[in-house]
C-alpha cells in the first residue's frame, strides 16, 4: 500500500463506519479463535474460515431486514454472527454442545437460527439456492416484504442449481438477492478453470437479472451494493445479483495444503485486506486511533472468551436424544 489511505467520504456517518469496522474485527477474531480451537480438537469436522472476506458479509447484513431470510453455505460463521445469532450459541454449536444453535447436530457447516430466519448453513455447494428461491416465493405469495439473501461462492455458479434457480427467480420476479462471494477459488480450482466466462455478471444478465460487480474488500462498497439490491428487490423489481470480489486468506478448510496458489499471491491480497484498508481510512478520518482500537479489540476478545467458556461449559447432547428431530415431535 504505497498510496496514502483516503479518508471516508463526507456522507458516511462516523459512528456507523466504526460499527462496520467493529463487526468485521469481531468476525475475524472469532474465526481466529475457531482455528485455535480446531487445533486443540475442541472443534472437529470440516471448518471453513471467512478470514479475508469479512467486508462482504458485513456489507450485506446492513440491508438485511428483520423479516428477511439468509441462506448461506458451509463458510457461514461470519454471516451467522453478523445476522445476530449470539456468539455463544454459535461457538457452542461448533463444540457440538446442546447449547449450540442446532443442539450440536449441525456443527460448523450447518448453523441455523429460527429467530433470524437463518436457513443454513448448507454444505452442498449450490444446494441453498433453490431453497432461497422458494423462501422468496413464499414471501411474495404471502404478501410479505421479505427478501431472501442467497449467499454462495463463485464455484457454485457452475452447478446446475445456480442456473435453474436464477431462471425461476427471474421468471417469477421473486425477491432474491444473489450474493456471489467471488474469492477466485473453489477449493483448489481457480475461477478461470471453472468458468468459460469469468465475468460472472454476464451470467446473471443472461437471465435478465440486474447484476453488478463490486469490490468486496471495501465494506462501504459492499454495503452500498447491498443497499441498491435491497431497494430494487423490495420495490418489486425481481431478483438482483451482486458479485463481490474478495479473497480467502486461509486454506479452504483445515485439511487444505494450499498447493494451488503461492504464498506471494495470498500475501499480496492480505496487504489489501478489508480490515487493514478500512482501519487506515478510519484513522485518516480521525475516527480510529490505537487506544480506540485496543478498546474495541479488548471488548471483542472478552466476548469471544466468554463464548469459548460458554461452549466449554456446555452439555453434550445425551446419546438418548440421538433420534430426536428426524421427524417433528408434534404437528404444527
Amino acid at each position: 500500500m504505497n498510496e496514502a489511505p483516503k479518508p471516508l467520504p463526507d456522507n458516511v456517518d462516523g459512528e456507523h463506519a466504526l460499527a462496520l469496522f467493529t463487526e468485521m474485527v469481531r468476525v475475524r477474531r472469532f474465526e481466529e479463535k475457531c482455528a485455535e480451537m480446531y487445533s486443540k480438537g475442541a472443534i472437529r469436522g470440516f471448518l471453513h474460515l471467512y478470514i479475508g472476506e469479512e467486508a462482504v458479509g458485513t456489507g450485506i447484513m446492513q440491508s438485511v431486514a428483520p423479516q428477511d431470510a439468509v441462506v448461506a453455505t458451509y463458510r457461514e460463521h461470519g454471516h451467522a454472527l453478523l445476522r445476530g445469532i449470539p456468539m455463544n450459541v454459535v461457538m457452542a454449536e461448533m463444540f457440538g454442545k446442546q447449547e449450540g444453535c442446532c443442539r450440536g447436530r449441525g456443527g460448523s457447516m450447518h448453523l441455523f437460527d429460527k429467530d433470524t430466519h437463518f436457513i443454513g448453513g448448507n454444505a452442498i455447494v449450490g444446494g441453498g439456492m433453490p431453497v432461497a428461491v422458494g423462501y422468496a416465493l413464499a414471501a411474495s405469495m404471502r404478501g410479505q416484504d421479505a427478501v431472501a439473501w442467497c449467499i454462495f461462492g463463485e464455484g457454485a455458479m457452475a452447478e446446475g442449481e445456480f442456473h435453474e434457480s436464477m431462471n425461476l427467480a427471474a421468471l417469477w420476479q421473486l425477491p432474491v438477492v444473489f450474493c456471489c462471494e467471488n474469492n477466485f477459488y473453489a477449493m483448489g480450482t481457480a475461477l478461470e478453470r471453472s468458468e468459460s466466462e469469468t465475468r460472472l455478471v454476464e451470467k446473471a444478465r443472461s437471465y435478465k437479472v440486474t447484476a453488478e460487480v463490486v469490490d468486496g474488500m471495501d465494506v462501504l462498497a459492499t454495503e452500498a451494493a447491498a443497499r441498491r439490491a435491497a431497494e430494487s428487490t423490495r420495490t418489486g423489481n425481481g431478483p438482483y445479483f451482486i458479485e463481490f470480489q474478495t479473497y480467502r486468506f486461509r486454506a479452504h478448510s483445515m485439511f487444505d495444503a494450499e498447493r494451488y496458489r503461492c504464498r506471494e499471491e495470498v500475501h499480496e491480497h492480505e496487504l489489501h485486506g478489508p480490515l487493514r484498508i478500512f482501519a487506515a481510512r478510519l484513522q485518516a478520518s480521525g475516527l480510529l486511533d490505537d487506544e480506540k482500537r485496543a478498546a474495541l479489540e479488548a471488548e471483542i476478545a472478552a466476548e469471544i472468551d466468554a463464548a469459548v467458556a460458554f461452549a466449554e461449559a456446555g452439555t453434550p447432547e445425551p446419546v438418548g436424544e440421538l433420534t430426536r428431530y428426524v421427524y417433528s415431535e408434534a404437528h404444527v
Partner: protein
C-alpha cells in the same frame, strides 16, 4: 373393494379422487399451492389438475420450467417460508434430478437445525410401468426414498387413499412423498360420500384370508387381489395386506398377517435386489422367525431396465400368474 356404488358411496376414478383431494386442499387452505411441469395450461401430464389454472389462477397453479432440482428445492424453501406446497414431479425417474434436494436437504433440515426448521412439503410423482414407456419412464424407485430417514413415503393404491393421503400429507409437518402408480389413474373404486383425510400410519387388510398373506402396495395391490381370486378358485384362501406407507413401515400389521397365515408372498414392482420387499422379508425374518414354516417369497420386477416391447415389459413386471405361482409354492410348503 368392489366398484359398485352402494348407499353413501360413490364410484370415482383414482385420477378424479386425486383431483378432488387437490381441489379440497386448494379451496380450504390459502397456503396450499401446486407447482410442477405442466400442471397448469397443459392440465397435468396425467390430467389430474385439469381446469385448476382457471379456477385457482397462475399463482397457485404454477407451471414450472424444466428444472426439477430448483422447483423441488423451491418447494422446500416455500414450506419453510410458511406455505404448504404440493410439488408434482411428472415421473419418478425425473425425480433423480432432484435427488439432492430431496435427500440432502428436505430430509436433513429438521435434524441439522436441531429441530428448528421442519419442512412441510408434499411431493407427488407418478411411478411404475405397464404402458410400454421403456427404461427412462417406467421404474419404481420409491424404495430409494424409503431408505432415507427424514422422509415419509406413501403409496396410495385405492381411490380412498389417493384422496385421503394427500390431505394427511399436507397436515404433516415433515416432507411426504406420494407415489401414484400410472396404471391406477383410470381405475375406478368406491368412496364414501364424506371422504376425508386417512391415517398414513397403518397397513390395511384389503382381503381377509387364512392360508397365505400377499403383502403389497400401490399398483400391485390389484394384481394381488386378482391373484387372490384365482387362488380362491384353487381352494387357497389368501389374505391381501396393503402396506400403504413404505416409510415408516407398519410392522405390527405385517406381523399380524404373518402370524395368522404363516405363509408370505411379497409383491413389489421395484427391482428385487435391495428393494422394499427385502426390507419386509428381513423384518419378518427378525420379528416372526418362529412363525414361518417356509421362507417368504418375493415377486418383484426382473433386474433389467424396463424394456419397451410389450412381451418383454410384461415379462419384466410382476404379473398375476407370478403371484399365484408364488402363493402356491409357499402353500405347498416349498418356498
Amino acid at each position: 373393494m368392489n366398484s359398485t356404488a352402494t348407499e353413501g358411496m360413490r364410484e370415482i376414478t383414482y385420477r378424479e379422487a386425486a383431483r378432488e383431494a387437490l381441489h379440497e386442499a386448494l379451496t380450504n387452505d390459502d397456503r396450499v399451492f401446486l407447482m410442477g411441469e405442466d400442471v397448469g395450461r397443459y392440465g397435468g401430464s396425467y390430467a389430474v389438475s385439469l381446469g385448476f389454472l382457471d379456477e385457482f389462477g397462475p399463482d397457485r397453479i404454477r407451471d414450472t420450467p424444466l428444472s426439477e432440482s430448483a422447483f423441488v428445492g423451491a418447494g422446500i424453501g416455500a414450506a419453510i417460508g410458511g406455505m404448504r406446497p404440493i410439488v408434482e414431479v411428472m415421473t419418478v425417474n425425473f425425480s433423480l434430478l432432484a435427488a439432492d434436494q430431496i435427500i440432502n436437504t428436505a430430509a436433513t433440515y429438521l435434524h441439522m437445525s436441531g429441530g428448528q426448521f421442519n419442512v412441510p412439503l408434499v411431493i407427488r410423482m407418478a411411478t411404475g410401468g405397464g404402458l410400454q414407456l421403456a427404461a427412462q419412464h417406467s421404474h419404481s424407485l420409491e424404495n430409494l426414498y424409503a431408505h432415507v430417514p427424514g422422509l415419509k413415503v406413501v403409496v396410495p393404491g385405492t381411490v380412498e387413499d389417493v384422496r385421503g393421503m394427500l390431505l394427511t400429507a399436507l397436515a404433516d409437518p415433515d416432507p411426504v412423498l406420494i407415489f401414484e402408480h400410472i396404471l391406477l389413474y383410470n381405475r375406478k373404486g368406491v368412496l364414501p360420500v364424506q371422504a376425508g383425510a386417512v391415517d398414513i400410519d397403518q397397513a390395511r387388510v384389503r382381503r381377509e384370508g387364512t392360508q397365505v398373506s400377499l403383502i403389497t402396495y400401490g399398483g400391485s395391490l390389484w394384481k394381488c387381489l386378482d391373484a387372490a381370486e384365482v387362488l380362491e378358485q384353487q381352494g387357497i384362501d389368501a389374505e391381501v395386506l396393503d402396506l400403504r406407507t413404505l416409510r415408516p413401515l407398519d410392522d405390527a400389521s405385517i406381523m399380524a398377517t404373518v402370524t395368522k397365515t404363516r405363509r408370505v408372498v411379497i409383491v413389489d414392482e421395484g427391482w428385487r435386489s435391495g428393494g422394499i420387499s427385502a426390507e419386509i422379508t428381513a423384518r419378518i425374518h427378525e420379528q416372526a422367525f418362529y412363525e414361518l414354516d417356509v421362507p417368504v417369497q418375493r415377486v418383484c420386477t426382473a433386474e433389467v431396465p424396463i424394456p419397451y416391447a410389450k412381451q418383454l415389459e410384461e415379462a419384466a413386471l410382476p404379473q398375476v400368474s407370478d403371484i399365484v405361482a408364488a402363493a402356491q409354492r409357499v402353500v405347498n410348503g416349498h418356498g
